[in-house]
Symmetry: C2
Subunit: 301 residues, 2 copies
C-alpha cells in the first residue's frame, strides 16, 4: 500500500499501515555542491522583460523575476506600471513579521496609466496542461501534489487539472482588497517568513525575488494591525522600479534560474532532503517544497 504523491509515491518509505515514513539517504551530495557543479545546460535565463529591478532610496536593490505563465494579465500590468514610473517615489509601507513586506501605490494615490487593466481576472490558478510539472516527491499539506514547473514552486491537482504558484519565501504577489477585487499589480508583497501557503489560490502570485531579500526582510516591523507602519515618516522610499528590458543592454543585470526538469535539480532536491556532510547527524529523508527553493545565480552585474 502506498500513500502520498502519485507518480512518486514514496513506496519504499511506506510501512505496513500505509503511513508515510521518511526514507533517508545517507550519501546524498550536499546541495551547495550540486549547484556549484551543475552544467550550464541546467540553467535557464531570466528574460529581460520578466526581470523587474527595484532600487530603494537607501541603496538596496531587489531583482524580481515575473511569472507571466501563471498571471499574464497582472504581469502585463506590472510591466506597464514599471514603464510609466508608477513606483518611482512610492514606498514600502507594511512589514508584518513572519508574513510579508508590502510596497507600492494604489489608484487612490495616483491615476492608473494607459495600458493597465483596471480589473484583471482572478489569476489565482491555471490549467496544469502545458506545464511540465515535476513532483517534489514528498508529502505536502496544502495540495494533492507539490512540485515545480519551469523553475517555479507549485501546488497542483492532476484530478482537477489545475496548478498554482506556491507562497514560498521570496515569492511576490499582488495586494488586493476583498473579492471581487483582484488587485492591479500596483501594490505588491513579498513573503518574509514561513511560507503562508494558505494564500495559495487566493491571490495573484506574480513572481519571485531573485536577489535582495535582505533589503526587504531586515526592515523594522510595522506596529499597526497587519504590520502597517503607523506614520508615513516610517515608510521606506523606493527610488525607482525598472524593467531590465528597458535598460540599455550594457546596464542590464542578468540572472539564471535552475531548470527544474534537470538532473542537477533532482539531485539538489535530494540533497536538500538528506543533509549530511560534517554537520548533520540525521538526514531527514524528506523536505518541504519551500525548503527546496529553486537555485538562482547572477550572470552579470
Amino acid at each position: 500500500m502506498s500513500c502520498g504523491q502519485a507518480d512518486t509515491a514514496p513506496r519504499d518509505g511506506a510501512d505496513a499501515a500505509g503511513m508515510w515514513r521518511p526514507a533517508p539517504v545517507t550519501d546524498a551530495t550536499e546541495p551547495s555542491e550540486v549547484v556549484a557543479d551543475a552544467p550550464d545546460a541546467a540553467w535557464r535565463d531570466v528574460a529581460a522583460d520578466n526581470l523587474l529591478i527595484m532600487e530603494l532610496a537607501d541603496g538596496g536593490r531587489v531583482a524580481i523575476e515575473l511569472a507571466p505563465d501563471f498571471a499574464p494579465v497582472h504581469v502585463a500590468n506590472i510591466r506597464a506600471l514599471a514603464r510609466s514610473g508608477w513606483w518611482n517615489g512610492a514606498a514600502i509601507y507594511r512589514v508584518q513579521d513572519n508574513y510579508v513586506v508590502q510596497w507600492g501605490a494604489n489608484e487612490s494615490d495616483q491615476p492608473l496609466p494607459e495600458g493597465v487593466v483596471k480589473a484583471p481576472p482572478a489569476e489565482y490558478h491555471r490549467p496544469l496542461q502545458g506545464l511540465a510539472a515535476r513532483p517534489l516527491g514528498y508529502p505536502d499539506s496544502y495540495a494533492p501534489l507539490a512540485g515545480y514547473a519551469g523553475g517555479w514552486p507549485i501546488g497542483y491537482d492532476p484530478e482537477a487539472g489545475q496548478a498554482w504558484l506556491a507562497h514560498c519565501y521570496g515569492m511576490v504577489g499582488v495586494g488586493r482588497g476583498l473579492s471581487p477585487d483582484t488587485g492591479t499589480g500596483g501594490e505588491l508583497y513579498a513573503v518574509i517568513g514561513h511560507a503562508p501557503r494558505h494564500l495559495d489560490r487566493n491571490i495573484a502570485t506574480v513572481g519571485r525575488v531573485l536577489t535582495g531579500m535582505e533589503h526587504l526582510a531586515a526592515r523594522a516591523r510595522g506596529t499597526e494591525a497587519l504590520g502597517f507602519y503607523k506614520d508615513e515618516a516610517q515608510h521606506i522610499p523606493i527610488a525607482r522600479v525598472t524593467l531590465a528590458a528597458d535598460l540599455p543592454e550594457g546596464r542590464r543585470p542578468a540572472y539564471q534560474v535552475m531548470r527544474t526538469d534537470s538532473e542537477a535539480f533532482a539531485a539538489y532536491v535530494t540533497g536538500r532532503a538528506n543533509r549530511g556532510g560534517d554537520f548533520f547527524d540525521v538526514p531527514a529523508g524528506g523536505v518541504d517544497l519551500c525548503n527546496a527553493l529553486v537555485p538562482t545565480r547572477e550572470t552579470k552585474d
Copy 2:
C-alpha cells in the same frame, strides 16, 4: 485505503488511488476568533524558571520559554548561564536571511561558570512516552507524524518511540560545533525564516521566542558566510539576559501558552487549515505544522 497520519489518517480526504487530498471545511471559525474566545482553562502558564528575558541594548525585549522536557541538561545550563550574567554584554553576531539569528558568547571568550555542564548529552530527541502528543492531522514531509505536546510543536515516530521539537519560526536552539560537540547553551539561535526542519534531530532545541521576534528578525543580515557580521562594530549588543524567576515578583513578566490538548487548540488548527472569512476564497483544507504556531498571550507586563 487511508494514508498519512495514524489516528488521524485523513480518510475523508483520500481518493481511490490513496493520494491524500486536502478536504477543506468552509465554515471553520477564524483562528483569531478561536483564540480570543478560548476559555482560561485552555491556557497554561509559562513557569517563571522557564522564562528567559533578553534585553537588547537598544531597548528591544525578547521573552523565551525554555523546554526542559526536551533538553533538560541544556536548559539547566541556560538557567545557570543566565544567573551568572553570561550574556550581559554579549551580542547578536550572526543574522542569516531566511534562516537564523544567533547570539551569545563561547568558552574561548570567557570561562564557563560553575554549575554549567561543559559537554551536555546530545538532547536531540527524546522518548515519546510521557508526552501527550497529539497529531497535527495533515501530512508532513519530515516526520512520520507532526503534532504537538505540552504546547510545543514536534515531529514524532510512534514506531521508534521518539519525539523531537520542530524548528518552526521563533524556535530557539543551541549553537554547536561539529559532532560530538553539542554546545553548552552559551550560544543560542532563533529561526527567522521558513522552518529549517532539516535541523530537527540534529541539534538541541531548547525553547521558543514568545514575544520580541521583531527585535531579532528585523536586523541587517550579515555579509560573511552563514550570515556572520564582518565587523564587531556591527554586532548588536545585549544589555542583559535574566531568568524571570530571578526578578522580584512584582517585576516579572508573565505569559501563557495555549494547551495543545484543549478543544480550543483543535479548533485553532482547523481554523488555520481552513481560512475563510471575508478575504479567502479557497480554504486550503490543510496546514503545515509551522503555519499553526501555538498561540501565546502576555498576562502581565
